[in-house]
Amino acid sequence: MLPLADTNFAEATWIMVVKSIVIFAVIFGILPLLTVLERKLIGRFQHRYGPNRVGPYGLLQPLADVGKLISKESFRPENAISTLFILGPLLPVLSGVMALAIIPWGDVQGGVGFYGIDVPIGILYFFAVGSIAFYGLLLGGWSSGSKYSLLGAMRSAAQLISYEVAMGLALLGVIMMSGSLSLVDAVHAQGEMWFIVPQFVGFLIFMLAGFAETNRTPFDMPEADAELVQGFMTEYGGMRFGSFLLVEYMEILVVSGIAAAMFLGGWMGPGPSWLDPIWMLAKMLGLVLVFIWVRATLPRLRYDQLMSLGWKVLLPLATLNVLVTAVLVVVFS
């Protein structure tokens, strides 16, 4: 049997299976807690407590939320296109889970690589898989047969083309410095200095594009709860709506994971090597806090503002960053 992807490190099949289950379980354990964390933190940012009634410190709130969502009817509008409507929330979940595979949690220890899979095309895989999520948004919005959903889908299309290029170019600097597309190699290359120092501009551009990728404020135009009543999600209810929400948090984790691996030294940190995954998680959570902090601060932009930001500021800056990095890499090597 041909392998699905050429990997840098070969392992037994059963190890791969166990690894995927562990990563899946850990991430899906963290996701509900992230929703509580976000609601509580946003509350604190607004002089409130946030949810604190269900369970100790409101920790069981996601359980109540999911229980409510699951028990709701899976509603479908009359003029929706049935198959595509159901496919809508499935594709983003698929892409989110697939993107989790390349986040490196640690080095190879005792014959086991602490990551789902180390593909030599690393970052390209992330972009390829991440783009699938937008099919979900577009299909879901279009097949709902509702004007708000369609507007939300159109906005996500407009958003997609304006940030994706800059996002790729922002990572190009890191790729040139580490000399590999693999995230594991990128972390190894940060042994002396985290890439956030030489690639600070790249980091900023990547995070800005990341806000757009995850549909978070200030770039949450596809959802825009104030004017588009959740945009492409308008006609969704129950757990289908829930999976869109789930994907949003999963994408935050993925983008944070990529940023932590590419710019913040990945799993590197003081202490014994078994602390590596915890360091990685801590760095990811730190970036998640930035996401929440920004959401509590900034209003939503108009989407022509996002497009002009993407094309007129981020893209030239990212290109300049790549050029300067290229020259410096050639000069110093």
Binding site: R44, F45, W293
Partner: protein
């Protein structure tokens, strides 16, 4: 101020203005461009600082059922009827002035003559029936002002929600009884 306002405004074009005192409007730099992006970045950081300061200040919520805002001494809550402390007689003499003053018409008083030997009130007559329909009461306090004997006053209790409208008609016995102090009173100077 001189006629030259320095911003291209010709005062002669506005003869309705007696003295030209045009205040220069302070305008920010034009948005857009690299400079605009730089300033937007700076303003974003300022915004982030502002929200972080709110986070550090901590929540200001009063978690209501467990924690209550103290009421002021003159707060107009549920009514109380009073008795003389020494004799134990009711202060209310059944004059119905409170019922007359009530704009919501929620007080019903039926007066009766005091029989010597088993006096209920200090006056000639007493209130045989004294009812306040709290579902109609607007808590204006006019009954308290109208009462010549200070027999009715407004208390501090505001937690009177009930499941049945009939339960909101408070009888004389209920109004005379010592109310459960459910709401804290504001201390001096608070």
């Amino acid at each position: 101020m001189s006629a030259d306002t320095g911003n291209g405004f010709d005062p002669k074009s506005a003869p309705y203005l007696d003295s030209i005192e045009v205040v220069e409007v302070q305008r920010g730099p034009e948005p857009g461009g690299v400079g605009g992006a730089y300033r937007a970045f700076g303003e974003t950081l300022r915004g982030l600082k502002t929200t972080m300061a709110r986070l550090i200040e901590g929540p200001m919520t009063i978690e209501y059922p467990e924690e209550k805002t103290p009421v002021y001494p003159r707060f107009r809550g549920r009514h109380k009827l009073h008795k003389f402390e020494d004799t134990g007689l009711e202060k209310c003499v059944g004059c119905s002035l409170c019922a007359a003053a009530c704009p919501a018409d929620c007080i019903r008083v039926v007066a009766a003559e005091n029989i010597p030997g088993e006096r209920v009130s200090a006056g000639e007559r007493y209130a045989a029936v004294y009812e306040i329909n709290l579902s109609r009461c607007i808590f204006c306090g006019y009954c308290e002002i109208a009462c010549p004997f200070d027999a009715i006053t407004m208390g501090h209790d505001y937690e009177m929600a009930d499941y049945d409208r009939r339960d909101l008609i408070f009888t004389k016995e209920m109004l005379l009884a010592e109310p459960i102090e459910r709401t804290p009173l504001r201390s001096e100077g608070e």
